[in-house]
Symmetry: D2
Subunit: 289 residues, 4 copies
């Protein structure tokens, strides 16, 4: 049995905290016939910021989709100095995967995709190496090799942009893609490129974190998923986790144990993004339940 597609609007917003904001917005939704199916809010009392995610059923909602943002702007955004993002769940988002040679994150994502765990479409996989075409073929997903390297990044990214546009991509997941994106790339997809870094950031920024962890003799290794910004490995952190290691673990053991961390941490972050449960502010994330 095919599950009926959701038909809801999702509002992610933040503004200076004032009394009555929840009431105002829920009243607006209720008054126009919207049935709220999710509401979570959080007040940062230290900095005086109010954050909310509210989702409501559009069946029977009296305002057409393309007017809702207008209404919000006019009625509330100025009045409350509110930043908001409105999205609709009627159509699944379109996600592109960037990979290099390692398959563990790719398989973890595709296995969830094929099992319909996520409400997303994956129309294309892009790689700077041909190695993982075999995986894309298993899942019948177009695989585009863009042989980008340090010297041809500018031109090759243009090729990538064309592909991303052609496939109408909403957001990008770097599933152990071992290249740094240009500022131009990042600016085209603000808060829409998710990376997995194989350390508990901010420790071990940059290349070869498992080697660095081994050298330092840490007793934990970690993985961090974050939105990509122009500072290397310094974007808003979405999710982190760690696993214990001991003096007995070689670098190879760290790499092996790390793979399981990386794939789970990345997939948790991707899921939250798909569910539109992440709000970024001041280079940090608010992640709703």
């Amino acid at each position: 049995m095919e599950k009926k597609r959701p038909n809801t609007a999702v509002l992610l917003m933040h503004c200076p905290d004032k009394p009555g904001i929840i009431a105002v917005i829920t009243d607006f939704i209720n008054a126009n016939g919207g049935n709220i199916v999710y509401l979570d809010q959080y007040v940062d009392r230290v900095n005086g910021v109010f954050y909310m995610r509210v989702e409501w059923d559009l069946d029977g909602f009296g305002i057409p989709d393309d007017k809702i943002a207008d209404y919000f702007n006019t009625l509330y955004a100025h009045r409350y100095d509110m930043s908001f993002k409105l999205s609709f769940t009627r159509k699944p988002q379109r996600m592109a995967l960037f990979v290099s040679k390692m398959s563990h994150c790719l398989y973890d994502i595709l296995a969830r995709y094929i099992a319909k765990e996520w409400d997303v479409e994956i129309p294309v996989i892009i790689s700077n190496h041909p190695d993982l075409k075999i995986v894309a073929d298993q899942f019948n997903i177009p695989f585009e090799v863009v042989p980008l390297n340090k010297d041809n990044k500018k031109e090759m990214e243009q090729v990538e942009f064309e592909i991303l546009d052609r496939f109408k991509i909403d957001f990008i997941v770097l599933a152990r893609y071992m290249q740094v994106l240009s500022p131009e790339f990042i600016n085209r997809y603000p808060d829409r490129v998710i990376n997995i870094h194989h350390s508990f950031l901010p420790a071990f920024v940059g290349a070869k974190p498992y080697h660095a962890a081994y050298e330092r003799g840490v007793k934990l290794i970690g993985a961090t998923s974050h939105y990509v910004t122009s500072d290397l490995d310094a974007g808003p952190i979405i999710e982190q986790d760690i696993t214990r290691i001991t003096h007995k673990d070689t670098i190879d053991d760290l790499v092996k144990k790390g793979r399981d961390l990386e794939k789970i941490v990345l997939s948790r972050a991707v899921e939250k993004h798909i569910q539109r449960k992440i709000l970024t502010y001041n280079n940090k994330t608010v992640v709703f339940n």
Copy 2:
């Protein structure tokens, strides 16, 4: 009923890995009437180093305590290019606590001490502030205030050395002692000063790690216990752990959650040290089970 004190020798050693080392040493112990009560070994096959901890009952052992090291040296240490440390459990080790103003690590240690969880004596607590004298008094432990600061460190450390000598201190635990030790201090107690740092090192070295963690927006906070060396927060790591946080946690929440981490992580490290289960090598630790 008083538990009978142990009467064992503990050998911690490492050397280039060669076949037959375990056999040679266990033969030596067995042949001289020693009953092995613990043996754990570990081979670092990447670097070709053999590590072992062996503990045997001295009741009935044929070699007097003060000759055992000699025998080892003569028979094996040169032959195998072995570094070893021999110690005896007949008398408990003597541990000094250094504290400043925060009591959570201090209470955690003293509660274990009073409940006789550890085979250790705590003859003195030293502090640069008088605040925690009340705790020392509760447990009837001498409390020495040494008002050390950046400007008088040299002289005040001499006072500390005198106290440490007077109380015949074997090793030192910095239980949230907020001062950096001088190189001279560290050289007097190599691998014998244990610190707790309130971050998952090497992230957030130095002062105010919870503030830094909050600023960076991490989703985990950690604590690290390590031997103190002359590089700040860079000594051999003994134990680390983390706890999850969310965007809802303020700096105060991090401090509060961190306290529980700090005290448990520090106490785990102190226990391993008391049990003589830690071997340091190349600025890393081998921690036996």
Copy 3:
């Protein structure tokens, strides 16, 4: 510097989910001059239940303390079929500790108490054994020995009730108190007796869970804090945690590792209770952040 005592009202409530409840209640508070300092709500969409915790400043609030519940009842409780609990933070709650012979949970709680981590008073410690009087004396807390056992439970509990009444106790923490309370006791303190059980319930209910865990060969041990009900170890769970063990751990090792779990898990639960952040419903807890 003495921190100013809070002066807030805390409303914990649940009712069948309907649109607009948050608005109604926040409007009521705002309209009467109350400044909301905390609001968290949760909708159980499966069972259609709405839960909320709201806390507001009473300075300047227009309704006297002893009338607030009346207003709520009259205006909202019937209309929304609401169950609610109203409390005031002006005076700290009074907590009694019940102990037997083990000191680790007791010390952990008293160390937090003395460091003023918690807004609570501990006017009395009750025990069926005299062993821990020494700890109570360290902290200058009255210690009452009530030598209860299976045969005299009825009479001895009357003695306990008298003590609890005399000290005006609000809630009770069983800090490794090894006796089962009578139904009469439990009925006097519904959702007001917190226990720590040394297993991850519902595994290993009853006596000697570490022995049972050892026999079963589990790879994790746990601890569970819960409100006491008339079914042994079956009350609403407040908090649980686990730690990893291996085949190398003896029963003594489990007991030792378990102690750290028990004290932290119990203290986390006690803290949430003190903060009035726990709501019970259908033998389960809603624990607010």
Copy 4:
């Protein structure tokens, strides 16, 4: 570059603890030209049992493979009352997967298989439902549907035995296979059938553990991999792990969070089995590092 296949012997043994066993066995291996590449031993001092795993290179070893067990038996097994298992790594073991309808554990295993993380062959996947044939086809692995149910178990298991024999299967992994095996099946594959149960056993034995966990209101859910024995969910535990949940999690959320636990816990257990690092004794496991 193809990695050279290992050519080692692995000895897993246990016996009553006596001095000198390590020396005797390592001497035997060294004396016959074997180079030890792994040695780990563990003494259960409570029960007086010695456990060891030793692995040595067979290149240059003076005793032919098919005589080694004989030598061991004659020289040591009787003398030390030793139980041992000898195996050779020259050929990868052959693993059969049993599945039903859920794909997450299956994909996790196949992704590791295809990436050559494990030294194993998977010649066949067996299922009581046709649903996952599509996954088997992606990886070009024969998929055999054996429509076993409660009423035809005896006959259908005969079909399974024929398949297992035909594919020369060494051990079996139940990757969320939702059927109970008959005692006859289990007796054919002692300590060679690995199951994943979706709870932290011994809590929530049997069907629908996530529903039971939800009803009980636990704050953790778990997964347990174990060898299958004739008692349901009561065989030797190989690996367990948990993840935190809150009152906000519905049964669907538990199922979703549980999937990640299940696949990782099962894969960790399978890896240890492939590496021949698990020894069972008294319905418990010794799992070497």
